[in-house]
Amino acid sequence: MNMPKQPDSLILRVTGHFLLPLLIMFSLFLLLRGHNEPGGGFIGGLVASAAIALHLFFTDVQSARRLIWLDPRDLLGWGLSIAIASGVIAMFSGLPFLSALWTELTVPMFGMLKIGTPLMFDIGVYLVVIGTVLNILLSLAEAEEA
């Protein structure tokens, strides 16, 4: 029982190409606004994974891999490292591991922008979630194609 050859659906291809950047942007949007509105690293990561899964449906694994330019395995490592690093920062100020630190930046045109280690931590979560889903998804798809 082999997986049927990819159906060359015009609609899927066109809408897919169109949707992919939008979905990725949406996932970043969810990630960044997560601290105040529904969203966050976990949800953002899932949306981004879903976007790449969609891409996978109308192309092949190679192209999906090229799309993320990082091996999903490396994403896991980067995500974990970033999350840990965000916790370590506080230790340099003599605070316990993972204490939240915030600074307020005034960005021209934007106004006040609050940046803190929890955001960095959330980025780590975001990467780990993408890494996990894509690791499983891509290796399954690869095993299918082989």
């Binding site: 105040n36 529904p38 969203g39 966050g40 896991l76 939240a100 929890p118 979630v129 095993a143």
Partner: protein, 764 residues
């Protein structure tokens, strides 16, 4: 102080690199470190007569665990022995292992051991003492197994590790009990609490646990078997760890805790009898052995037994004898072990029967060996004699008569053993050896010469040793000020008579050694049925049991894993619920529920049933999807948008994953019997009911105030975020999240490995 101890680990880490830097002279270069320490500790000698010096650093302040050190007479005596003998051992090892490819690694472990051992004897805090204790076990394991290509070395290393670390576990429990009884983790406080501790109901079990730790470490009967096997280690290790230092850690602990635990009838009986039995068995086996290192190892067992017995007797004179004997033993046994290495190095033989007449080829070594052996035999005017006189005096004055008898017999046999080492290889008929015997280089000879000479000098100037070194140590062990009164000449008394008697008996035994061996063959069969058999049997049982439990729990079938997990879960939950049964209640209030909520629940249940009953795989997937989306809808309705979104996304991705897997699965056939299906249905229902009950009970029980209010109130001012769920995830409970993303990453790696491995299997 902290630098002196922890710096040792730093030097250990740098050792391989330093070895490359200094090449074949690295032994001398690295010996500078223990030499520095020795001078440092020696400079503290005059200070400890006025009482212990305490140094303290915070380690884990939240648990009250401190890195605190106590320097008093006892710990200083040990520290001086460890660093002083360490100098010669490191220098010796540099030449002894010159040809070995892993010398750098050897230095690293040896120096790490030295640092751990110093930490052990200087610790004031029980927890740090225990940590250093275990570190010495681990470094000892690495050193015994240094020649890791040799199966016998690996086996011995593992045996030593199991015995000492097993005892270490008991010790840890005992020490924690001690701290709870005495109300402090600091030894300096505990030692003054002796009366409280001895009166406490926990005294006997606590003592048993601590003694188990000390006895395994110091190779007391019936745990003595690991020590001779540990001779698989390179000779510098045997000389250092397994005679002069590590095996004395148990003795140190007993001496250290004597003011807190000692003095009871139990202490006297257990230590006295175990020590005396160990003493006799050790020296008996020494006399029956022919390997040079084996003989020395068993005579070390004898010495350790003697020390245990003396500490058990606990009188002032016994404690003085213990400290004098400890010092004497470290000096002559260190020297003799190093000489055993020289014989091996110079002639290639490890057996006493293959040696003889070496005096002509290696005169300096021969004289040194004889001097050290005289101290072992306890001949005037060596320091060993001073120690032996005290030993006799203390058993004569306070020990049971059977112990006195064992001690006298053991001492006579020790004289014979000393003659085996000090006479047999050197004089008489020249034996043919593998290598042409040659005198040892200075690096090998320095240690034995210095240690043997010290054995002589300490004997000649016994009162000085007493005043400067041992007085403070004995006082620390006794818990009050004691003057040991060491002297070379105590006048003509019973002890002197016994000395002469044992000397004569020992020499007779030496000359009749072949007959002795012949007539005592029967004990070999006894020894075969001894404790080592017990060790082997328990290890093989351990292997069998773990193999069985692995087969049972790790069946490799997902369904059994699920079954075990679910049943365990239910058992645990119901146990707790039944314990608290009277306090539980379910407040079921159906009034506030709206009609559309009923409808959703109906859809949920129907979809779940459909998933369970579905005859096609796609149908089951679709039904499960319906369950998931309905749950998502419920989340949204109960104002948890984050959960809702997550649920929808997870459902979507799950469907995608299932689609990828679907084609790989076998057809949706009826693979199980009805009975099995019934069993699974029952387990599933039971878990469902359990969860329902648990949730209903939990919703109704309010043991503590809910922390949701705090989260809501703190979210904006404390976490700078309006989305409470996210603030909890990335700030308030970030550590939990960190743990969860680690689990995610692990799971992904596991799946990856599984799929890859299968793909590789197929392609083969």
């Amino acid at each position: 102080m902290l630098y002196a101890l922890l710096g040792g680990f730093g030097v250990a880490a740098l050792a391989p690199w330093l070895h490359q830097l200094f090449g074949r002279h690295s032994g001398w270069a690295l010996a500078l470190w223990p030499a520095t320490l020795f001078i440092y500790f020696a400079s503290m000698l005059s200070g400890v007569n006025d009482g212990p010096v305490l140094v303290s650093h915070d380690w884990i302040p939240s648990l009250g665990i401190q890195l605190s050190f106590m320097v008093d007479g006892l710990s200083l005596l040990f520290a001086l022995l460890i660093s002083g003998i360490g100098v010669f051992i490191v220098a010796y090892a540099g030449r002894y292992l010159e040809q070995h490819q892993d010398v750098g690694r050897f230095y690293a472990i040896l120096l790490a051991f030295m640092a751990s051992m110093l930490g052990l004897v200087l610790s004031d805090n029980l927890i740090s003492l225990f940590v250093f204790w275990e570190l010495t076990s681990i470094t000892s394991y690495l050193l015994i197994g240094f020649n890791h290509e040799d199966a016998a070395a690996r086996r011995s290393a593992l045996q030593g590790l199991f015995v000492t670390v097993g005892g270490g576990l008991a010790l840890m429990t005992g020490l924690i009990m001690l701290a709870m009884v005495g109300g402090s983790y600091e030894l300096s406080t505990l030692l003054g609490q002796g009366d409280v501790i001895r009166e406490h109901a926990w005294y006997a079990p606590m003592l048993a646990l601590i003694l188990l730790g000390a006895f395994t470490k110091s190779a007391q009967f019936p745990f003595h078997f690991w020590l001779p096997n540990a001779m698989a280690a390179p000779t510098p290790v045997s000389a250092y760890l397994h005679s002069a230092t590590m095996v004395k850690a148990g003795i140190y602990l007993l001496a250290r805790l004597n003011p807190a635990l000692g003095g009871s009838q139990l202490w006297l009986t257990v230590l006295g009898s175990v020590g005396a039995i160990t003493l006799f068995i050790g020296i008996w086996l020494a006399l029956r052995s022919t390997g040079i290192k084996k003989v020395l190892a068993y005579s070390t067992v004898m010495a350790l037994g003697t020390l245990t017995m003396l500490i058990g007797l606990g009188t002032d004179i016994a404690l003085s004898a213990a400290m004098a004997f400890l010092l004497a033993h470290s000096l002559y046994k260190g020297a003799l072990f190093m000489i055993a290495g020289i014989i091996d190095h110079g002639t290639g033989s490890k057996d006493l029967r293959d040696t003889g007449g070496l005096f002509r080829a290696m005169p300096v070594t021969a004289v040194t060996a004889s001097v050290a052996a005289l101290s072992l035999a306890g001949v005037l005017p060596m320091f060993g004699f001073v120690a032996k006189e005290l030993l006799f005096e203390s058993v004569l004055s306070s020990a049971a008569s059977w112990i006195t008898l064992l001690v006298v017999a053991g001492t006579a046999m020790t004289v014979a053993v000393a003659a085996l080492i000090g006479i047999l290889p050197w004089y008489g008929k020249t034996a043919v050896t593998k290598r042409t015997p040659h005198e040892a280089p200075p690096a090998l000879l320095a240690g034995p010469i210095v240690l043997a000479t010290l054995g002589l000098l300490f004997g000649l100037f016994a009162p000085l040793v007493d005043e400067r070194l041992l007085g403070a140590a004995v006082s620390a062990v006794a818990g009050n000020s004691v003057t040991p009164n060491l002297a070379l000449w105590h006048g003509i008394n019973v002890a002197l008579g016994l000395s002469a008697l044992t000397l004569a008996l020992g020499l007779c035994l030496y000359f009749c050694r072949d007959q002795f061996r012949h007539y005592t063959r029967f004990t070999d069969t006894l020894a075969k049925a001894g404790p080592e058999r017990g060790y082997d049997a328990s290890i093989s049982w351990l292997v069998k049991i773990s193999a069985w439990q692995t087969r049972f729990f790790q069946s490799g079938y997902l369904r059994y894993y699920l079954l075990i997990i679910l049943l365990t879960f239910m058992a645990l939950v119901w146990t707790v619920m039944l314990i608290h049964w009277p306090a539980l209640s379910m407040g079921i209030d159906l009034r506030g529920i709206q009609l559309h909520e009923y409808a959703l629940v109906f859809v949920l249940v129907a979809a779940a049933l459909a998933a369970a009953r579905s005859e096609s795989r796609l149908g089951a997937v679709a039904s499960l999807g319906a369950v998931g989306f309905t749950v998502a809808l419920l989340y949204v309705m109960f104002s948890a948008p984050d959960l809702g979104i997550t649920q929808v996304l997870v459902e979507t991705l799950t469907v995608i994953l299932l689609v990828l897997v679907l084609f790989r699965l076998p057809g949706f056939l009826r693979l199980t019997s009805t009975a099995l299906r019934l069993r699974d249905a029952m387990v599933a229902s039971a878990v469902g009911i359990t969860m329902t009950c648990l949730l209903l009970f939990a919703a109704d029980a309010r043991l503590y105030d809910s922390i949701s209010h705090w989260h809501v109130a703190q979210s904006m001012p404390g976490g700078y975020g309006r989305n409470i769920v996210n603030v909890i995830l990335v700030d308030f409970r970030a550590l939990d999240t960190l743990g969860e993303i680690f689990v995610l990453a692990l799971a992904a790696t596991g799946v990856l490995a599984m799929i890859r491995l299968r793909a590789e299997d197929k392609s083969k």
